[in-house]
Subunit: 338 residues, 2 copies
DNA sequence: CCACGTGATGGGATCGTTCCCATCGTGGTG
DNA sequence: CACCACGATGGGAACGATCCCATCACGTGG
């Protein structure tokens, strides 16, 4: 045995006693090939252990059968933030039935952004998934210019032009705060996500909406912006307690920030939920492990991953055919922190 | 303005008034090109906004400038298990200075394994990183056969033939148990990782070694195998308490399992560390968030990611040139659970 | 009986690079 | 002055697939 060289389509054709084109047809499932020829080709393929060279295929079809998942990690959140892991799982799950491969790109700084830009300009992927986009993110615009199929998880503004999926952030946040009101809380603070992200604004909006519903006038001193990190949550909590020592509830725009807030409350001897009730957002794993376990707004991040992938594949297959925007529902999970 | 078509090397050559080859030389940094020609080419590239087609390049060089990171996720651990996120961060960090891209492949079942096998046979990557390998994993063997550069995080046995890096699991575990002995504990149980993985065995070995050092005979009833999951840790803890109600310490082979054990101990009203001391392994984020915070053996998983990537790149550049085996140190981090 | 449509087939061109080799000029040397 | 070595250059072939188009056999209808 053994050519050290991998067999090519020519080898297979010779072996099967047919032309290259016929082999190619069998490979691509064309109906224009006789049963005998097909059988011969299949046999030759099996005998030679032939695997088509996808690079050569890519060159002529100009498709790569791969997509990129871009994760901005300036705050080194992958790992601390279970969100990204869940997205990855969902994406991978949705790709499992296809032959499409996943390229993971963490973008930490300008240099890496430049490298990514070049990579995308070279069209080394068929499409791009963008996660955690900030308002002034240069990437979405670039992708739009390049005409590279793109789907966002989340959106930059309510009139996002790019295809995207997003959770019902306003609705989820409203429900959370409504729940606090029902529990009799009146001085409800909020720790927000980054306000240059739509997700940050929406959850803040939901907080304000629920208060308005309850006839309570929003108090700016009860709003502390943070950055989705635990440390940010801690700092924000500290600031809130200084400004409004009498607050009796906090709605944090993520579980991780809520965990930080809880730590700070514990440190100061405020009892949760007796003195201060806390609600998070995401229903990530941390929510079940805080002390006490966290009431939170569930969003299925894995489902988000699946959805944006589905949209992207659709958009790649037939540009313009995918839904522009998909809204994913949220639901309140009540635990012991409220 | 403009051609809708992307410029090719020919376009650039024409624009610069030189031949294709000269452009190619400039692109690849060959010294055999005059300063004037080089300048002309650079200018043409900038004007045309030319980006080389890497697929075409791959076809002739038969290099893809990408590597695959394979994560077996049968237990859907990505996310629950911070290990994988940390590996990804490390790998990505090490790749940042190169032009190599990262392909992430989660393998959940046989079908996905088949798909991956075909993918690797087609040599669509230059090398492979393998994480969390089990003793009877078919992938390492396949890769060896294919002659595809491969590096493992961890190893299958102490005489692993493939390039790999591994933490000092025996040493770390020994140190942990020694620490428990110093704290005066005598009935020290262990919750192991999967015993069909070397990491599981080594940490168990370390436990036994330390006991031997302390003149204590290992008791089989104090060994409960689990699977690195929190639920597994909980179940194992339950079994241990049933078999040896008087145990006064537990060494868990991962923080996540330790968290499960803690939960079970709390549920049963055993005080930690007063009644039972607990040590974990990994120093992952969960270790700082359990109640009480976990004493644990630190291993730098991110460093592991960087190391295996470095080895792989080296092995790709010059097969056989990389170190066969790199040992990464561990260190004990003492918190409140002991 | 012949022209014609149709299914099956294969050869040539092509995708955009890199690599091999031939060519050309030029300055140094015997 | 002839020759040579060497740096610079460019054209042709190759990488391994797909796609376009010409060809061919064959059955059918006029």
């Amino acid at each position: 045995m053994g050519d050290s060289r991998r067999p090519t389509i020519k080898t297979v054709a010779a072996r099967a006693g047919v032309g290259r084109t016929t082999v190619s047809r069998v490979l691509n499932g064309s109906p224009l090939v006789s049963p005998e020829a097909r059988a011969a080709v299949m046999e030759a393929i099996a005998e030679l252990n032939y695997v088509p060279n996808s690079v050569a295929r890519s060159l002529v079809t100009s498709r790569t059968d791969s997509i990129a998942l871009v994760i901005p990690e300036s705050e080194s959140r992958l790992g601390a933030e279970p969100y990204f892991s869940a997205i990855i799982r969902g994406v991978s799950l949705q790709l499992a039935t296809t032959r499409v491969q996943l390229l993971l790109t963490l973008v930490r700084d300008q240099r890496e952004l430049d490298r990514l830009t070049e990579f995308l300009s070279a069209r080394r992927v068929d499409g791009v998934l963008l996660v955690s986009v900030h308002r002034d993110d240069p990437l979405p615009g670039l992708l739009q210019e390049l005409g590279l199929p793109t789907v966002l998880a989340g959106r930059r503004s309510p009139d996002e032009p790019l295809n995207h999926a997003h959770s019902d952030n306003v609705g989820g946040a409203t429900e959370a705060v409504r729940h606090l009101l029902e529990r009799g809380r009146r001085s409800i603070a909020t720790i927000t996500g980054p306000l240059d992200m739509e997700v940050g604004n929406s959850r803040l909006q939901g907080w304000a909406d629920a208060l308005a519903e309850g006839g309570i006038e929003p108090d700016d001193a009860l709003v502390a912006p943070a950055d989705f990190t635990e440390e940010g949550g801690r700092v924000a909590m500290r600031a809130l307690l200084e400004r409004r020592p009498a607050l009796d509830a906090v709605f944090a725009a993520s579980d991780v920030m809520a965990a930080g807030a809880l730590a700070e409350l514990n440190r100061r001897g405020r009892r949760v939920p007796d003195d201060v009730a806390v609600v998070g957002f995401d229903d990530s794993i941390v929510a079940r492990h805080t002390d006490p376990p966290l009431t939170t707004v569930r969003q299925s991040v894995e489902e988000m991953g699946r959805t944006i992938t589905r949209l992207l594949l659709q958009e790649i297959a037939e540009p313009g055919s995918a839904e522009k925007c998909v809204l994913l529902p949220t639901s309140l999970v009540v635990r012991d922190s409220t």
